[in-house]
């Protein structure tokens, strides 16, 4: 079931935000949106996988797909890059069928009180991101002087559940 994307970032004081980097971008997500962050030792690449699907792991929730946002931010010309199947950190989100993960480059700490930027500045910063990633971003803020973008769990899960539109390559 697709969920509606959050239209605004969480307001200050609404809970803690986990800051991390994924696809080379500084991102933040409310802790309450996450299941956990864990380290994968090995990942099973899947046959005929969607470009962004790095593979699956067995988690407490069952078979969990891990997506690599870096493949979405790559230039559109040329063959699509392969998602990395290397071991590493993943952030897991709850899903109706168990859990869904994204690859995480590194963790950057917790923020108790992110400072929202002005609406125009947020709009300009988001517009400068790769187009394929913009639907997952709901705003920008700073924490201890570090810029980050709010990652929308709901928009991401909605994308995961969207219709397959990639060619099968036969």
């Amino acid at each position: 079931m697709a969920r509606r994307a959050r239209t605004a970032p969480p307001a200050a004081g609404q809970g803690r935000t986990l800051m991390f980097a994924a696809a080379g971008l500084p991102l933040g997500v409310p802790l309450e949106d996450l299941l956990r962050v864990t380290e994968t030792v090995e990942m099973l690449p899947m046959p005929m996988a969607s470009t962004a699907l790095a593979g699956v792991v067995e988690s407490l929730e069952g078979v969990t797909p891990i997506y690599d946002l870096a493949t979405l931010s790559a230039p559109s010309r040329g063959p699509p890059p392969r998602a990395s199947t290397a071991a590493g950190l993943v952030a897991l989100f709850p899903h109706a069928h168990g859990s869904v993960g994204i690859r995480v480059d590194r963790l950057a700490g917790l923020s108790d009180a992110p400072e929202a930027l002005g609406p125009d500045l947020q709009k300009n910063l988001v517009a400068a991101l790769p187009a394929a990633l913009q639907p997952f971003i709901t705003g920008a803020a700073t924490s201890r002087g570090q810029l980050f973008f709010f990652f929308s769990r709901d928009a991401f899960l909605s994308w995961v559940g969207a219709a397959r539109d990639e060619p099968t390559g036969t």
């Binding site: 090995e42 099973l44 690449p45 899947m46 046959p47 005929m48 996988a49 969607s50 962004a52 699907l53 699956v56 792991v57 067995e58 069952g62 078979v63 797909p65 997506y67 392969r82 199947t85 899903h95 109706a96 069928h97 168990g98 869904v100 995961v160 559940g161 397959r164 990639e166 060619p167 099968t168 390559g169 036969t170």
Partner: protein, 156 residues
């Protein structure tokens, strides 16, 4: 009545472990076959090393010889170790993988030096050598694999 375990041929194709339906495998032979279709290419799996074994696979039409990186052998998988694949696993051909199987991690992979072929037909005399722990393998739907191989080789 207790459910019987599933029996599959466990192979490595590129970076993925796959379990194949035994009824679909006509022959297994060691050594690289230059004319064989790499299974990792056919299934769009990230490549790894050079192939070291060849399988003759039934497709519903003409059999197709595919190359795999290595063969672990036949594994028995308890029903409890057959894990469902939800729609949140985005595949471009969703029917090609029918489940994910928790299989004993092989301690020995058979390739050119260990499996001089042809090694046999259905009911392979090769049993996987289990190592420590388990790992995951994608269980391939034989009908969908047959269709895909036939489409690629023009043997439909």
């Amino acid at each position: 009545m207790k459910a019987l375990p599933e029996r599959r041929l466990l192979v490595r194709a590129g970076q993925a472990l796959l379990t194949l339906d035994l009824t679909q495998i006509r022959e297994v032979s060691g050594g690289a076959d230059a004319a064989a279709l790499p299974l990792c290419d056919a299934l769009d799996i990230p490549p790894a090393g050079p192939p070291s074994a060849a399988l003759v696979v039934e497709t519903g039409g003409a059999p197709v010889t595919v190359a795999v990186d290595a063969v672990a052998g036949v594994v028995e998988v308890a029903r409890a170790d057959v894990l469902a694949l939800g729609p949140h696993v985005r595949l471009r051909a969703p029917g090609i993988v029918r489940a994910v199987m928790r299989v004993p991690r092989p301690s020995q992979w058979r390739g050119a030096s260990l499996l001089p072929g042809p090694a046999g037909a259905v009911g392979l005399p090769v049993t996987a050598t289990p190592g420590e722990g388990t790992t995951l393998a994608a269980d391939i739907d034989p009908v969908e694999l047959g269709k895909r191989l036939a489409a690629i080789t023009g043997g439909a």
